[in-house]
């Protein structure tokens, strides 16, 4: 495959590119989805293609094609060059890429059981057994379960001399029980919403998720939510479980830390960030127990790799340390703008046909010192929430509102009645500054995100957020209806 890469890069230089890179991707995916006792959908997708990125006359160009035929490469390169020349008509600043050594390397994610070797019947039977358990609960009218697998070989080469082959295997599974009566529709998911838990692992992940064991509890919780009441709007102490807290980290720390947003390059679509450049290394983002670490070396993380799509080696660094804001997610193009000599290695594309853009890598909250029971016992009037249902945040990433799948009141240090549609809202820095307790490492779990949307044309990226449950003081809870 590096033959094709050499041809592309040489031709791009011949046509005037001062920098060029190519990503060749060969990807296979498998998706099984059952619903109410039937295999609702099954698909296998095998795709291959490459994308070429060039700088010509101080303009960027990118073109891609969905095949690996060597006879097409000149056309693709010519298109990328032509696009770069057109881009240079509207360019203000010179494109300077942060320095990075060139690498010749092979990297692979780790896995024990290749999911593509596991028989289809084994996978299907697991899903159908879960489905049957969920539908034993009479109020559960819709039972859905799914498994997804992906294997990808990515070849990266650049005119700076890098030649890198990376192989990743991702597996995931989960299910959803929807209880319905004439007045309401309520859902519970396991292990997480949006398809379940996903990691860079093989089929051994599925075997270890305890999917069947948890199905009766999930079904009965969905049914119980139909009878539960909403909590009345008021300020309370809030304990957030790991799954929901992972989303909170994603939306209120991950996205506002992406430097392209900070610099205004996402202004028209996703928005910008409240963590403006003047706040770089100079802002109390959270209370002093808040430590958020970016880590593209996290074992089995979905944002784990050997090298990003700029060819920058994976790194681990603080985004927030003891509450103080430390670092943005950067790439080679934008890091020099804020005076950083090296990129943090966050340039990622979701497909061969997509251009790499700054995407958060794995971002996790370091664990604290508390037992979860201690945190509940220390809460007089509060709410415990978990499970992702609804999320929304403004374009500066300040005002957010989340509704979770399930909640429990906390009264005098004890979990009390179940609450449906548990909702909370706040302003990001105030919220993180109110964090006063974080559970210890025993409760720390990695939560895989497979549906992070960004960019135009839209790209969907994966990453992992690890965290233990945490408590936040005096937070507005409940749905405000005025």
């Amino acid at each position: 495959m590096f033959d094709l890469c050499d041809k592309v890069l040489n031709y791009a230089q011949l046509l005037g590119a001062c920098y060029a890179d190519i990503r060749v991707i060969i990807r296979e995916t498998e998706w099984l989805y059952t619903k109410n006792g039937k295999l609702e959908s099954y698909s296998i997708n095998k795709e291959e293609g490459y994308g070429v990125r060039v700088i010509v006359d101080n303009g960027w160009g990118f073109a891609s094609i969905s095949n690996l035929n060597k006879e097409n490469f000149e056309k693709v390169v010519q298109k990328a060059i032509s696009i770069a020349k057109a881009s240079s008509k509207v360019r203000r600043e010179p494109i300077i890429l942060a320095k990075e050594p060139s690498y010749q390397d092979i990297w692979s994610s780790t896995y024990l059981i290749d999911p593509f070797t596991v028989p289809f019947e084994t996978k299907l039977n697991t899903l159908l057994e879960i489905d049957e358990i969920l539908r034993k609960e009479p109020s559960v009218k819709i039972a859905e379960a799914e498994m997804r697998f992906r294997k990808e070989h990515k070849y990266f080469a650049s005119t700076e001399g890098s030649k890198i082959l990376q192989t990743t295997v991702v597996s995931g599974a989960g299910y959803e029980a929807t209880a319905i009566d004439e007045n309401d529709v309520q859902k519970r998911t396991f292990p997480m919403a949006f398809g379940g838990q996903f990691m860079q692992m093989g089929y051994e992940l599925i075997q270890g998720l305890k999917l069947k064991e948890n199905a009766p509890r999930i079904a009965s919780e969905a049914a119980a939510l139909l009878k539960a009441k909403e909590i009345e709007p008021a300020k309370r102490d809030l304990i957030i479980g790991s799954e929901q807290l992972a989303l909170q980290i994603h939306e209120s720390c991950g996205h506002p830390s992406e430097l392209d947003r900070v610099l205004g390059y996402e202004e028209n679509y996703a928005g910008s960030s409240f963590i403006t450049v003047d706040k770089y290394k100079n802002m109390h983002y959270g209370s002093n127990i808040v430590n958020l670490v970016a880590d593209s070396t996290l074992p089995n993380g979905l944002g784990t790799f050997g090298y990003d799509d700029d060819g920058v080696r994976a790194q681990r660094y603080f985004i927030v340390k003891n509450g103080l804001y430390q670092n943005y997610f950067t790439n080679r193009e934008f890091a020099p703008i804020i005076g950083d000599e090296r990129s943090h290695g966050c340039n990622r594309a979701d497909h061969f046909s997509s251009i790499p853009i700054i995407r958060m890598i794995n971002l996790s909250l370091l664990p604290g010192d508390y037992e979860l029971d201690e945190m509940i016992a220390a809460t007089e009037d509060g709410l415990f929430v978990d499970g992702v249902k609804t999320w929304s945040i403004d374009q500066m990433r300040l005002n957010f509102q989340f509704t979770c799948e399930i909640g429990y009141r906390i009264k005098n240090g004890k979990l009390s009645e179940m609450v449906k549609n548990p909702t909370y809202q706040g302003i990001t820095p105030n919220f993180w500054q109110s964090c006063d307790m974080i559970a210890n490492e025993k409760y720390w779990i990695p939560c895989g995100v497979i549906n992070c949307g960004k960019g135009q044309p839209g790209q969907v990226m994966m990453m992992t957020h690890g965290c233990s449950p945490a408590r936040f003081k005096n937070i507005m809870t409940g749905i405000v209806r005025n």
């Binding site: 303009g59 095949n67 610099l263 390059y265 028209n268 997509s354 500066m396 005002n399 509102q401 302003i427």
Partner: protein, 439 residues
């Protein structure tokens, strides 16, 4: 080329019935921010999904390599999987004995569009905003796609779709505003005109007033109204959602639940732009009245759910395996007054330019939450007098549509999750804002 591939697939397939869906999409997009082009891309993707159907069992596989060896291997793998499938009585036979090719009615201006012209459009808008000491960000994009649906039962349907979009944000010390143009032709597109509109709005941001959460009478621009309606279309009119009791229509079909001013049709056989004459089960599409003067009478359906519910098959199937059906080309019928007149006749009303990051809390009441963005303006005695901070709303779309007081006479094409939809501006009373943000 597609005919040859299809011939090979149908010849080699061991299943009773076989179909291919061949997708060819060319996407080009010029993205700019901070007054310069930052991303500029073109992708040419071809992908084929092969589906086999045999004894009420089905399976599908997608490939992007169409060489003989890859096709042969894919068919072998697919047939093996098919034989492991569980029969599903809901599955319909593949369509047969129809051949239809939709017309490619692209305007000359669309056909000529390329990276150089897109960059020129960007330059014109950026230069205009720079003169006004503003910073520009946005996109200029064009998409062309062809979907070829063929079965081994002498059915073929070739569908062309195409779209042009230009969105422009202008920012200065007072804030940010945004304008957009979407369409299937560029004949009425003028980048400087959009830039001028942005500057007009930007000037109105200077005089600011801080407001709190609460209930307000509002006017939503078409772009903002479209954002709200997408949730209604996605969650409510599907026969599948109705059958599963996930739609508000379950208890309200045939009732007057919205303002009598509101009529919404699904118009897949539109005469302007790309028309869809057959759905992905091969059923003829139909123009359906979704909301008739505030009364919701009809669902959009497919073969299976029309049979189960005893309703007409409207030809809205997007997936023959999951049986999902959605409105294909929704259109809200216009009102009588222009947006300008609506503003002139309003007092103490918020004009909201765009909504942001909406999400659904409750599917039965279609309660959604989201933010305002890119300009919230206070109308006092017929004049836009001030701008305000952005607000979060938490509101039932059903309540909002019941509270419609006026729709504008001018329709705009807005982004829909498949193609475009036509939407006017709307005036809604008592809209619930649950909190405020800091800008």
């Amino acid at each position: 080329m597609i005919e040859k591939i299809a011939e090979k697939v149908f010849k080699l397939s061991k299943a009773e019935q076989t179909e291919i869906l061949f997708y060819h999409t060319v996407d080009a997009l010029t993205r700019f921010g901070q007054n310069q082009i930052t991303q500029h891309v073109e992708s040419d993707n071809q992908n084929m999904t092969i589906r086999m159907l045999d004894k009420k069992r089905t399976a599908s596989i997608s490939i992007s390599n169409f060489s003989d060896s890859v096709i042969e291997k894919a068919l072998e793998q697919l047939y093996n999987i098919l034989n492991l499938q569980i029969p599903d009585e809901r599955l319909s036979d593949l369509p047969e004995n129809t051949n239809y090719k939709s017309e490619l009615k692209q305007s000359d201006s669309f056909k000529k569009l390329d990276e150089s012209i897109r960059s020129d459009f960007v330059k014109e808008s950026v230069d205009y905003l720079k003169k006004e000491s503003s910073i520009a960000a946005g996109i200029c994009s064009q998409t062309k796609s062809t979907i070829t649906h063929m079965t081994n039962k002498n059915y073929s349907h070739i569908y062309h779709d195409w779209k042009f979009s230009f969105s422009l944000s202008a920012k200065n010390d007072y804030g940010i505003t945004r304008e957009e143009f979407n369409g299937t032709t560029l004949d009425n597109f003028n980048p400087e005109e959009l830039a001028e509109k942005c500057i007009t709005s930007l000037k109105l941001l200077k005089n600011k007033k801080k407001i709190s959460a609460g209930k307000y009478d509002i006017i939503l621009t078409p772009a903002a109204f479209a954002e709200l309606l997408i949730y209604l279309f996605y969650f409510s009119f599907s026969a599948k959602a109705y059958h599963e009791k996930r739609s508000f229509m379950v208890n309200k079909k045939g009732q007057q639940i919205f303002s009598p001013l509101l009529t919404i049709i699904d118009n897949p056989r539109q005469t302007e732009g790309p028309a869809l004459y057959y759905d992905f089960e091969g059923s003829p599409t139909t123009n359906t009245v979704l909301v008739d003067k505030g009364i919701c009478n009809n669902l959009v359906s497919n073969k299976y759910y029309s049979k189960i519910l005893g309703i007409p098959n409207t030809g809205n199937c997007l997936s023959p395996t999951t049986l999902d059906c959605y409105p294909l080309r929704p259109e809200v019928l216009p009102g009588e007054k222009s947006l300008k007149t609506m503003i002139k006749e309003s007092d103490n009303v918020l004009l909201i330019n765009r909504l942001h990051y909406l999400n659904i809390i409750d599917p039965l009441s279609v309660m959604v939450t989201g933010m305002t963005r890119d300009g919230v303006f206070l109308i006092e005695k017929g004049q836009i007098t001030k701008s305000t901070n952005n607000l979060r709303f938490t509101e039932s779309v059903l309540t909002a549509l019941a509270n419609i007081e006026e729709l504008s006479s001018d329709l705009f094409e807005c982004e829909y999750f498949i193609g475009l939809m036509k939407v006017p501006a709307v005036k809604i009373k008592n809209f619930n804002f649950s909190s405020a943000t800091e800008f």
